[in-house]
């Protein structure tokens, strides 16, 4: 029997809550789906192993030279930044989720123990979530290259631990610097930027140096080789650890645990204080009074569009989600800018990137406007014909897509009118498809449930992703040959037909 109020007791309590929350997310609250989710998970792991076999299999026996070290370190750095991003988001949620805070603080237990567990849980969760993605690659490296690669699992644990420590430090630093009210938004934006920065940085470097979007060209470059530290440097310890060297592995693990211990020791005793401040900030009146609203709206259509645009603009969750997607447009924009100067075939790369981004952005926006309606009864009682509300909401989404992508397509038209035409059509079709999927699978939810949209319907999530990929591929091929584009277009249309067939509103 575990004694109540001890760290182990809290750990059991937290792990039970985390497990049930995860299960509920994966099954969208329907326990009957658990078996299907388990089968899908196993299928995903097998699929990832197959992918990993072809992607990293040939590199499993690579010599541990400086080039290998650079590649491994860059991969680890990318994974670590993504982990920090995820840990920051979890940490922000831990601070701002009021849930059981009153209960904990009002109880006669040592709350700092629970908060220490809560911070450690973030480390554990971040590492655990990386495993299904990284595990298959490590397994294939072990299978093809030997047991030495086992050290990579240790490095994932170390990275998760260090990421959680850094996330706590960053979040608390933001709390102190800009106050609890702004921290929530800024932390999310910082998390999104950190997650995307590395990939985008490499792409930008590749474009500026080599005129391509491929990060590999930078990693294999002589310039980076010359800049990198010597082989004996501590900088390569994580890479050495991945390659199975016990000393560096132990060093990296100890370092990460010490970091987390320091973060826990410093933050846990004040966690409750921060959380209370966060809750207080949520309830504080808006400090800056808005300007007086001059009533100008004369039609329901305009009222709905304007309302959607204001809500989207003022939604901090969406800002961070959208920013992430918009950041990925920076490299193609730079590539486009270079194409102005150099001319040439780089524009071929832009077509699928822009189409894909349009599809993904539309999906998120469409969910927010169509399913994420905070006053569904209000708009349903408005004196407008059936379907009017949905049409106005779709216009709001497509209006945003037009504002974002029209300048890029117009710029592309100066370089290549044909590519601009294909991209423009691709953007419209990808955006319309993603919006249609959100229409077919629409539910009634609060906007604040945006994070959960991807678990409300797996079919919708996959259909949205594959539709964007399909239209991006179609546009990429169409830019070269219209006839060849028929095959991916038919495939994507079939995929949309399948999604429509599986949707709960196929008869609506």
């Amino acid at each position: 029997m575990i004694q109540a109020g001890t760290a182990v007791w809290f750990a059991r309590h937290e792990s039970r809550l985390a497990w049930r929350d995860w299960l509920s997310m994966m099954t969208a609250g329907r326990r009957a789906r658990a078996r299907g989710v388990a089968i899908g998970f196993v299928a995903f792991i097998i699929f990832m192993h197959v992918v990993a076999y072809f992607v990293v299999g040939p590199s499993a026996t690579a010599a541990p030279d400086k080039h290998t070290m650079i590649t491994i370190t860059a991969t680890l750095l990318l994974a670590w930044l993504l982990m920090i991003s995820q840990a920051m988001e979890s940490m922000t949620r831990a601070f701002y989720a009021r849930a059981d805070l009153d209960l904990i603080l009002a109880s006669p237990t040592a709350a700092h123990k629970l908060f220490a567990i809560r911070i450690s849980t973030v480390a554990l969760t971040v590492a655990a979530m990386a495993l299904p993605l990284a595990g298959p690659f490590i397994d294939m490296l072990i299978w093809r290259g030997g047991i030495r690669w086992l050290g990579a699992y240790g490095i994932i644990v170390a990275m998760g631990t260090a990421a959680a420590a850094l996330a706590v430090a960053l979040t608390v630093a933001l709390f102190r610097a800009i106050g609890p009210k702004r921290t929530r938004l800024v932390a999310q934006v910082v998390a999104a930027v950190i997650g995307a920065a590395f990939v985008i940085g490499l792409q930008v470097a590749a474009i500026l140096s080599y005129g391509t979007l491929s990060q590999a060209s930078v990693l294999r470059s002589d310039g980076l080789f010359a800049l990198a530290p010597d082989a004996g440097s501590v900088f390569w310890w994580p890479a050495h650890a991945v390659l199975g060297e016990i000393g560096p592995l132990a060093g990296v693990l100890i370092f990460s645990f010490v970091l987390l211990a320091i973060a826990v020791a410093l933050v846990a005793p004040r966690f409750g204080e921060y959380a209370v401040a966060a809750a207080g900030a949520e309830n504080a009146p808006t400090s800056r009074a808005q300007r007086r609203t001059i009533f100008r709206i004369t039609s329901p259509r305009r009222a709905l569009r304007r309302k959607e645009w204001i809500l989207l603009r003022r939604d901090p969750w969406l800002v961070s989600q959208t920013l992430m997607q918009m950041l990925y447009l920076v490299p193609p924009a730079i590539l486009l800018w270079r194409s102005f100067q150099a001319g040439g075939g780089a524009v071929n790369l832009l077509v699928p990137v822009l189409v894909m981004a349009a599809g993904q952005l539309s999906g998120g926006l469409a969910w927010l406007t169509i399913s994420g309606e905070d006053a569904p009864d209000l708009v349903a009682t408005a004196p407008v014909p059936a379907g009017f509300i949905l049409r106005a909401k779709i216009e709001a989404v497509l209006g945003i897509i037009a504002v974002i992508f029209a300048p890029l397509v117009a710029a592309l038209a100066i370089v290549s009118p044909w590519h601009a035409l294909v991209t423009g059509l691709g953007v419209v079709i990808a955006a319309a498809s993603a919006t249609a999927i959100q229409l077919w699978f629409r539910t009634q939810a609060k906007r604040s449930q945006f994070r959960r949209r991807q678990v409300s319907s797996r079919v919708a999530t996959f259909a949205e992703a594959f539709s964007s990929i399909g239209w991006a591929a179609t546009a990429a091929v169409a830019a070269v040959s219209l006839w060849l584009a028929i095959a991916p277009a038919v495939f994507t249309l079939a995929l949309l037909g399948g999604a429509r067939y599986l949707s709960p509103r196929k008869h609506a």
């Binding site: 808005q290 309302k307 204001i310 809500l311 009682t381 004196p383």
Partner: protein, 263 residues
């Protein structure tokens, strides 16, 4: 011959089934300018009835006429003269009360100048003028409900439907909401409201309807309801009114007990 004005609401043989009948052949007439309270135990079919009248649910059978308009044949015309307020305020956290009222005025196609003047008046009336340019996200439940009420009134509806509008409100907010509703009824507006607070129905309503098992089991003024139940009501449900006159609570409990006993 003087033309007889259409009732504000006329519901005939209304039926709605989910897994069981929620509303089962309901007939209801509310006259123009009347304050009508619809009472009933949980699950009696009150909210389902109001949602059908507001156009949020399609009935399985029956008819609904709002100020003479067939709400099922021409829902857009009917919605134009109706406002719906539920116990959960239907507002947007990220909008200010002014922006919210502008949005609703736009949805109901109210002239901007007229809407602005009405909005200002309503915000002052409801004590929200000082918060008119703050986002609703920090508002209390009472303030949110008042914003929702202002939204319902900004398009000057002829029929206001309220489902438990006083739930969770503090005494001050509840008084303000009641005062606005009373004023509205005095000015000729028609109000139909469900409430679990029998005292509110007793004080505010011109007529009270009692619904149970999806049917209207009794209707009238408080005195008429007492008469329907009979003098034995107080004793039958264990009332302790020393005056011997059954309170609305006694009367209500006796009325809702009848169909259950019959069933």
């Amino acid at each position: 011959m003087i033309p007889v004005p259409s009732p504000a609401l006329e519901v005939r043989n209304l039926v709605k089934r989910f897994d069981r009948p929620a509303v089962d052949g309901l007939d209801l007439v509310v006259r123009s300018g009347e304050f009508y309270a619809l009472l009933g135990p949980n699950g009696a079919g009150k909210t389902t009835t109001l949602r059908m009248i507001a156009g949020l649910l399609r009935p399985d059978a029956g008819s609904i006429r709002v100020t003479g308009i067939d709400a099922l044949a021409d829902p857009v015309a009917a919605k134009r003269v109706v406002a719906w307020i539920s116990d959960e305020p239907m507002i947007y956290d990220k909008l200010t009360p002014e922006e919210y009222l502008e949005f609703i005025a736009g949805l109901w196609s109210v002239e901007p100048e007229l809407a602005q003047a009405r909005a200002q008046e309503l915000l002052e009336w409801l004590g929200l003028a000082a918060h008119a340019r703050e986002r609703c996200e920090t508002f209390s439940k009472g303030m949110r409900q008042k914003v929702a009420l202002a939204g319902a009134l900004v398009h000057d509806p002829r029929l206001i439907i309220l489902d438990e509008p006083l739930t969770g409100l503090d005494a001050g907010s509840a008084r303000q909401v009641k005062s606005v509703l009373r004023e509205r009824a005095r000015a000729g507006g028609t109000i139909i409201m469900t409430t679990h607070i029998l005292e509110v129905a007793e004080r505010m309503a011109d007529r009270i309807g009692v619904i149970a098992h999806g049917r209207l089991v009794a209707e009238g003024t408080l005195d008429e309801l007492r008469q329907q139940v009979g003098n034995g009501a107080n004793a039958a449900i264990g009332g302790d009114d020393a005056s011997g006159e059954a309170s609305l609570e006694d009367t209500f409990l006796a009325l809702v007990a009848q169909p259950a006993q019959a069933a």
